[in-house]
């Protein structure tokens, strides 16, 4: 089995020759290559080269066309603050609670901000990888993008104070996700992963997820499937036990679970869905390789009976992670 075949089998809970390794390596690929993060995040060619080098170095099963969760808000008009070796922060949000929403236009991914560079990265990765490894695009989910357009405190207060207006912005964010995600598929990504950390029950109650976010996620995933996505992958970190049961209704084929959720619990809540997780991301920075290897082996064993598992971190592996820790995680998939 090659990497893509292995992941495809895992998605439908079929037998695999070994557990697929999908460490969430984004900015770490730049660190590994000795490239400044700020350059990696703005140059699709450089991003693709670093991802391919990381894949060759660690021997895992996926490459990510992913910059950061500020790409979309920047494309709409927010001003970002870039630093040499950190992800950018929003210095000035494009939306305010009272602004004119009728003027909002979904940006063209071929032209707006860094989106064209991200699409270029997806295209290069697919040309280089073909169908040997999974080429994953990435984007911010509707809730996260809404918080990135307004600022998280403003967005959450707006949700309470003016739900109608909040939902209009949420709908705009969902439309943007559809356009950007389908552009990623057209550029070569096998699928776009939706990252929606602001949809976590740590941020909003499960009822909020069910009533406001689930319908939008469903709409986005339907569009991705129609556009030819290999599968629908949802990544929400934090204590997600209360919302995992809604994932099948959203059309999720691969569900991320973080270290807060026990593997047994994730399997019970989503018995027919492929799961990816859940090594604590900070441990890749401060633990020893033996500890990572042991944690990874436990996870591989926990899913041995059921299958449908991609070994991963619960959240992004920090750029400054120790390479030997990532290697230890990948080795666990090979029984090492």
């Amino acid at each position: 089995m090659n990497s893509l075949e292995r992941i495809k089998a895992a998605i439908v809970l079929d037998a695999v020759d070994r557990t697929p390794a999908v460490p969430q390596l984004f900015g770490h690929a730049a660190t590994l290559a000795g490239v400044a993060l700020v350059d990696y995040l703005r140059d699709g060619g450089l991003l693709a080269r670093c991802q391919i080098e990381a894949l060759k170095h660690y021997g895992h099963d996926v490459v990510f066309a992913f910059m950061d969760l500020s790409v979309e808000t920047e494309a709409v008009g927010s001003i970002l603050l870039y630093r040499e070796n950190q992800y950018p922060d929003v210095a000035s949000y494009v939306l305010t609670p009272g602004c004119d929403l009728s003027a909002l236009i979904v940006p063209d991914p071929a032209r707006a901000g860094r989106m064209p560079e991200l699409l270029r990265a997806a295209g290069i990765l697919r040309r280089e990888m073909g169908d040997t490894a999974l080429v994953a695009g990435c984007l911010a989910g509707p809730m996260t993008l809404t918080t990135q357009l307004l600022g998280i405190e403003t967005a959450l207060y707006l949700a309470a104070d003016d739900p109608g207006r909040f939902e209009k912005i949420l709908d705009f964010a969902a439309e943007l996700a559809i356009r950007y995600g389908t552009a990623q598929i057209a550029a070569g990504a096998h699928l776009p992963i939706i990252f929606d950390p602001a949809a976590s029950p740590a941020v909003v109650p499960p009822q909020f997820f069910r009533e406001l976010l689930l319908p939008r996620l469903k709409r986005v995933f339907v569009a991705f499937r129609q556009a030819g996505a290999l599968a629908n992958w949802l990544n929400i970190a934090g204590p997600t036990e209360a919302i995992l049961p809604y994932y099948p209704e959203a059309g999720v084929d691969i569900a991320n679970f973080d270290y807060y959720v026990a593997p047994d619990s994730a399997q019970q809540l989503l018995p027919h869905t492929c799961l990816d997780g859940n090594i604590k991301s900070l441990s890749f920075v401060d633990a020893a390789p033996e500890e990572i290897g042991a944690a990874a082996s436990l996870l591989v064993t926990a899913f041995a009976g059921r299958g449908g598992f991609l070994l991963s971190s619960g959240c992004e592996i920090p750029p400054e992670a120790k390479p030997e820790n990532i290697a230890a995680m990948v080795a666990a998939c090979r029984g090492g």
């Binding site: 070796n85 950190q86 405190e153 029950p201 740590a202 036990e241 270290y259 900070l282 401060d286 920090p318």
Partner: protein, 213 residues
């Protein structure tokens, strides 16, 4: 038991109705109720109920922010210049350290502590350790709280206790919290306590103030 006179204030606070809570606090003041009573029997009672509801498994920012906003509105009405030092309530200095501009966790913790009647000095985000230590000295703080969402800030967190010790403030307790920091341990961060949630951190500080730590 909540004093019936405070029922409406507690209810509006818990509903996150900041305009209703503010109106009720003004009504109580006009009726001659002392600010201290509104804090202890109104704000603290509401925070205690929220605390009971917010377990680690059931803790979300939205609900706490709404209650926190209402509590802050009432606190600002009662003490427009901030809680005076001479009230004898414990003082805590809180900041998001240099290199991290994500301050939502800090803001929520500040609101929870204000709701519990503490005096909180908020140094904002991207705060140098030196400013933090200066504030501890100036404000005669009883403890320091630092919040961090991203891992690069960990190096700054580790500097806080040595910087306090250099000024003869080595006995001041340091509490860390936030998505990145809570994945680590107190030992690894060189702090006294790592809080899982804002309420968890507040419980630690309650014990500290009661002399149990």
């Amino acid at each position: 038991m909540i004093d019936p006179e405070m029922n409406k204030l507690v209810d509006t606070l818990l509903q996150g109705d900041h305009t209703g809570a503010l109106a009720e606090a003004k009504r109580l003041r006009a009726a001659g109720v002392a600010p201290e009573r509104i804090v202890t029997e109104g704000m603290e009672a509401a925070m205690s109920r929220l605390d009971d509801k917010c377990t680690v498994e059931s803790f979300n920012l939205l609900e706490i922010m709404l209650v926190g906003r209402a509590v802050s509105a009432v606190a600002n009405e009662l003490y427009p210049e901030g809680v005076p030092l001479e009230q004898g309530r414990a003082t805590f200095v809180i900041a998001t350290l240099e290199g991290d501009v994500h301050d939502l966790g800090k803001n929520i913790t500040r609101m929870v502590l204000i709701g519990k009647g503490y005096r909180v000095v908020d140094l904002g985000k991207d705060c140098p350790v030196e400013n933090l230590v200066n504030a501890v000295q100036r404000e005669q703080a009883d403890a320091v709280l630092v919040s961090g969402l991203i891992t690069p800030v960990i190096a700054q967190v580790r500097k806080v206790k040595p910087a306090l010790a250099e000024r003869g403030l080595g006995g001041i307790k340091v509490v860390a919290g936030g998505a990145a920091l809570k994945q680590s341990s107190a030992e690894a961060l060189n702090v006294d306590y790592v809080a899982e949630t804002a309420f968890d951190g507040a419980h630690y500080l309650d014990r500290l103030v009661r002399g149990e730590i």
